[in-house]
Amino acid sequence: MSANAVSLAYLVAAVAFILALKGLSSPPSARNGNMIGAIGALIAVIVVLISGNLSHVWMIYVAMLIGVVPGVWAARRVKMTAIPQLVALFNGVGGGAAAVVALAEFLKSGHTDPVGSLVATVFSILIGSVSFAGSAVTFAKLQELMTTRPVVLPGGKYVSALVAVATLAAAIAVLPTGNTALVVALLALSLVLGVLFVLPVGGADVPIVISLLNAFTGLTVAASGYLLNNTLLIVAGTLVGASGTILTRLMAQAMGRSVVSILFGAFTAKASTAGGPSEARPVRSAGPEDIAILLAYAHKVIIVPGYGLAVAQAQHTVRELADLLASRGVTVEYAIHPVAGRMPGHMNVLLAEANVPYEQLKEMDEVNGEFASTDVAVVIGANDVVNPAARTDPSAPIYGMPILNVDQATNIVFMKRSMRPGFAGIENELLYDPKTTLLFGDAKDSLTKVVGAIKNM
C-alpha cells in the first residue's frame, strides 16, 4: 500500500472513531456506534498489518491471538455487576501498552530524538504507567481483592507528595539527557504514583477515577502517536482524551462530586475519607436522566402515588409523565392503595384534579397481580403502602395491612426527599433493595426533571 493509501485508511478509521463516540452518546444509536468503532479499529489493524515491511509477522499474530482469547473470554463471561472492574482492567492494559510502546521507541532511538519526541516519550511513559497502576488498584478495589474504603497510609499525603515530586524530577531530567536509567526510574516511580493516586479514593468515586484514567490513557496514546508519527493514534488518542475529560466531569457532576478533590485526594488528608461507603447501608440513587431512560425503554410502568405526591402537589406533573410515556408506547397504570395519603380517596381526589382518566386507576387487588410483569414501578411520595414490613415484621405497626406488591416489579424507582420513613414511622427495606433506584427531591421537581429528560431523548 502506498503511504497515501495508508493515511487515507487511517483517516477512515479516525472518522469511524468519531462516529462511534457520536453514536455512543445517544441510546438508540449506541450499539451501532460501538460497532462502527470496532470496524474502524479493524480497518486500522488490517492496514498496519498489510502495509508491508513488518518483520516478525508471525510472532505478532501469535501475540494478538494471546491477547484476543482472554479479552473476549473475560468480556463475555463476566457478570454484569463485575463490568466496571473489567473496564478498569482493560483501560489499565491499554495504558500499559502505550507506556511500553513509548519505552520501546525510546530504546530504539531515544538518545538521538529531538526534545519534542522526548517530551512525548516521557509523557507517554509517565501517564501510561500511572494509568496502568491506578487501574490495577481500582480493579482490586472493585473486585474486593482489597478494601473498598479509602486507604490512608500514615503520613500518606507526604509520601504521595514526595513520590510525585520525584517522578516529576525524573521526567524533567530525562529530557536533556535521554538517559535510559532515568527512564527506567521514571517508569518505576510512575507506577508507584499511580498506586498512591488511587488508594485514597473511596468506593463511590471509583467510577469517576476510572473515567479519568481512561482519558489519561487516551492522551498517552496520542503522545505515542506523535512519537510514531502516526496520525491515527494522535486523532484517536486525542478524541478519547477529550471526550474522556468531558465525561469525567459529567459523571462527577451527576454524582455531585468534584473532580479536583478526587484528583488531589492523595495529597489532602480530608478528601481521602470523603464519600467512602462508610454509611452502614448503601442505597442506589440516580439522576433524572437515568430514571428517564429506565422509563422510556420500559414496556409497562406502574405508578404508585402516595402522600408525598399530594404534599408536592405534583398531580399534574405525574399525569404529564404518564401521558408522555403512553405516547411513546409504554403501558402506564396507577396503583391506588386504599389508604395512600391521609384521607380515604386522597389519591382519587388528587388525580381527578389532574384529569387522569378513571380507567387508568387500579385498585390494589386488581393491580397486585400485575407487578410481576411490570418493568418499572415508580413509587412517588409513598412509603408505608409499599413497605414489605407489613408482611414480614409482626412488630411493625402496619403488620397485617395489605400492601402493593411493588417488590415484584423488575425495577423500582422511589421519588422522595430523603430516607425518612412515612406515617407509620418505620424503615422501608425496599429502599435498600438492589432493584431499587432512588431519586431524591421534591416529587414535583423530580417529576419535572424526568419529564424534561424524556423529552430530550
Binding site: 460501538n34 473496564v87 482493560f90 486525542t238 451527576a254
Partner: protein
C-alpha cells in the same frame, strides 16, 4: 506549514471534536461511553505492531509483543464488553438495565 504544526492543528481539531461529540450524553450512557472510548484507545495496538514489526533487537521485539498482547486485550475486550452493556438498548427490551458503573 511544518509537520509539527499540522499535527498540532489536527490535535486541536480532535480536541474540539471529542468535546463536542459527547457533550450531551445522558447519564445512563456514561459507563458504556467510557467503555467504548476505552476500546478505541486500544488502537495503540497499531503502535505496538509497528514497534514489534520494526524491532531492531530482542528487547524491543519483546516489549513490542508484550504491548501487542496488552493492547489487543484492551481493544477486543473493550468492544465486546461495551456491546454487552448496550444490549439493553437492543430494540425495546427494558429491565436488563446494566447495573454497572453509575452505582453509588
Amino acid at each position: 506549514m511544518s509537520e509539527g504544526m499540522a499535527l498540532l492543528t489536527i490535535f486541536v481539531m480532535a480536541v474540539f471534536v471529542g468535546f463536542e461529540v459527547v457533550s450531551k450524553v445522558s447519564t445512563i450512557l456514561h459507563t458504556p461511553l467510557m467503555s467504548g472510548a476505552n476500546a478505541i484507545h486500544g488502537v495503540i495496538l497499531v503502535g505496538a505492531i509497528l514497534v514489534a514489526g520494526h524491532a531492531d533487537n530482542a528487547i524491543e521485539l519483546w516489549l513490542g509483543l508484550f504491548a501487542i498482547v496488552l493492547a489487543t486485550v484492551n481493544m477486543v475486550g473493550g468492544f465486546v464488553v461495551t456491546d454487552r452493556m448496550l444490549e439493553m438498548f437492543k430494540g425495546k427490551k427494558p429491565g436488563a438495565r446494566a447495573s454497572a458503573g453509575s452505582d453509588k
